[in-house]
Symmetry: none
Subunit: 411 residues, 2 copies
């Protein structure tokens, strides 16, 4: 028995007045997701526990059977590993986004108008940076997808305990502060503020940004590091569960978590981490991977991005695309030999444009599972599901059980 975990990032949502009180999942009428629900048993998933709105990192860790309360050292470490940087123990790593700031370093667009190809060109300008406040520190920047990138500071006497927070509209960015009295935190805050200022001076008048302004697009005139972390240590799936795993994902965060979990990372050309991602390519990559792996995790970032943008049509579109992706998978695997878990890692509210602690629908199939009669994959249908309420940490044990490898207790 093999297993496929399909994660629609932030796919769950609330009922929306403009959808006549349906949720985006209900409005999208995803027939292949509904087919999985009909074949399996559904329930509500709290990735961490009721009332906790998780980021995708801690949610995915929990779903892969890692205890985020123990292994989580900050987002940056996973992002850097996922971006292919060989992180050292002394390094500190940050997610690092292109954004648009005004002359006072106040954010006017957190994603620089969702910059795409232009970002790759601009990133070439941010190489081999030397900072005055840190002549002994190597500064490594790597752009990953669109506005997203990673910053690694390599050297001694650094600290992640600084106020480098997720970019937020209308906030000032070059005022990162140490969060303790240590010289390491003070020094790291100084380095990061200088990095922000230097990035701005390099980027602001770059021809690409001049052209963007000319085209009415927000210039990507700054880089904002956030979510600092160190190199995490996870127990690999093959040691923990005896499973050979593979990951089909666009975003570095998920790639990093899966890589650290000992899974093979399958690169998919056309996977953008946004609504326009190539879900067909992802389906094909997953179908190829399942042939020589026991567990394949497919992660689609798009629904979360659309939700953060408040883009209802985009959210419904990407749900429909995920549904088509699932259709391709269902047509080409043997359901007698494959379990499927379909879930959202967390809910992202279109209305609030942020993650919520709402439970998300999960549906799990296996040839032997007692079906619960639920015929739809949605937040509402999952209320009636046979799984009841489960936590992220239960997903792997439940799958292992259905794969005939339960965790045994007692002799």
């Amino acid at each position: 028995m093999k297993a496929i975990i399909i994660i629609g990032d932030g796919m769950a949502d609330r009922q929306l007045k403009e959808l006549n009180y349906l949720t985006p999942l209900e409005a999208a009428e995803p027939k292949n997701m509904n087919r999985i629900a009909s074949l399996g048993t559904s329930g509500l998933l709290y990735a961490i526990s009721p009332g906790i709105a998780p980021e995708s990192d801690v949610a995915t860790l929990a779903i892969l059977g890692q205890d985020p309360y123990k292994v989580y050292t900050g987002r940056g470490g996973f992002e850097a590993i996922g971006a292919g940087i060989e992180l050292r123990n002394e390094d500190i790593a940050f997610r690092c986004d292109f954004a648009t700031v005004n002359e006072d370093f106040v954010i006017v667009d957190e994603k620089a108008g969702r910059i795409r190809e232009d970002a790759t060109e601009l990133a070439t300008q941010i190489q081999d940076l030397k900072l005055k406040s840190a002549t002994d520190i190597e500064v490594i920047f790597k752009q990953t997808l669109g506005f997203k990138g990673v910053l690694v500071l390599r050297g001694e006497n650094l600290s992640t305990n600084v106020s480098a927070c997720k970019p937020k509209l209308n906030t000032r960015v070059n005022s990162i502060k140490p969060l303790d009295c240590s010289p390491e935190a003070k020094r790291t805050a100084d380095i990061l503020n200088e990095f922000i200022r230097v990035s701005h001076s390099i980027l602001k008048d770059h021809p690409i940004n001049r052209e963007r302004r000319f085209r009415g697009q927000p210039p990507a005139n700054v880089l904002i590091p956030w979510g600092g972390g160190r190199k995490p240590s996870l127990s690999p799936l093959h040691k923990k569960y005896g499973l050979r795993g593979a990951c089909v994902a666009a975003v570095s965060l998920i790639k990093g978590i899966c890589k650290l979990s000992g899974m093979d990372i399958i690169s998919v050309s056309g996977a953008t981490g946004e609504v326009d991602t190539d879900t067909t390519a992802k389906a094909n990559a997953a179908l190829k991977a399942i042939k020589d792996h026991d567990l394949v995790l497919i992660h689609v970032e798009g629904p979360d991005e659309a939700s953060h943008d408040g883009d209802l049509a985009g959210k419904i579109l990407i749900i429909k695309k995920i549904d088509t992706m699932i259709g391709t998978i269902l047509e080409n695997i043997d359901l007698e030999e494959t379990c499927i878990a379909l879930l959202a890692d967390h809910a992202t509210s279109l209305k609030l444009k942020k993650h919520t602690a709402d439970p998300t629908p999960i549906t799990i199939t296996s040839p032997d599972i007692v079906r619960d009669g639920v015929t739809h994959y949605s937040e509402r249908a999952a209320y009636k599901g046979g799984l009841g309420n489960i936590y992220g940490k239960h997903v792997m044990p439940i799958l292992l059980n259905l794969m005939g490898k339960p965790v045994e207790f007692g002799v």
Copy 2:
């Protein structure tokens, strides 16, 4: 208010193709179990937690309100106490089964053809054994039910940390190894290997085994100790909950757990621990016991045995017999004064012939409980139950609450 807990060991299962995707419980159409469901509220029981496939020992401990993660010292201790052996603190105890091995000590039948009466006679040959490797150790063997028995090693400097595992087809039995570097573990492994060899030399040409071979039955030509443990210490029910308890069970494991929980053990003639057990006698014993006890636990081993044998007809038969047993109980108790909890301690998959981590159906009645409208006792019907998902450790507190003795919190 009194309470009866009815445990069908391994009674829950998966949907089976050969039953047109019904489970054995659904196929058996157990009208009295369904009546209990109609009178009460149902749910899904995880004896330990989702994803854990428990043995009956840890599951039953949890259901009786004991924390198996704290009190569990290995199966053998419970088996020995249940077999009526007065275990001392320094003793180590093992479950010990008659089996059939070939000349290389490789198992060809783990249960010696489910030997019955013959085992009792053969057991008389394994008394007052003297082992060369342990002249200071008293060797106590007691057959309990059919192929099942108990071995106690009495003396100093022994260890349970040896590789004495559950007998498995096609594995060698006289190669038990120490699992740490202590002289105690080394010595105990030597003693057990000698015990196995000596039992073989005594049994292999015994007239009963010669006759078994003549009849085409596998000879019970070896004894295999497994599941080593020490004398456990449990908090008795009368101290913990103020309840006088009784246990109606055939197998020593459950008797031992209940005895250590301070319950009276009711011996029932005709209770075999297999599909042919006398469920009428068990019903009558329980009805008698409930007169002067607050809590009666009735355990029926048969469904688990049938499942391990892959015997579908046997599993359905024993479910029907348990249903008849329940009918006798329902006819003869006052439901206005008695709560009933009907459950399986774990699921045993007929297809996999082993325990799984699947949740099991539980239904609980009391005259006052708000009924949930569920009218069947089955894995599928329980999905819709009002109890939702509960854990083994919740069973006693829920029953105490319905008995008018809830655990109180706050002043």
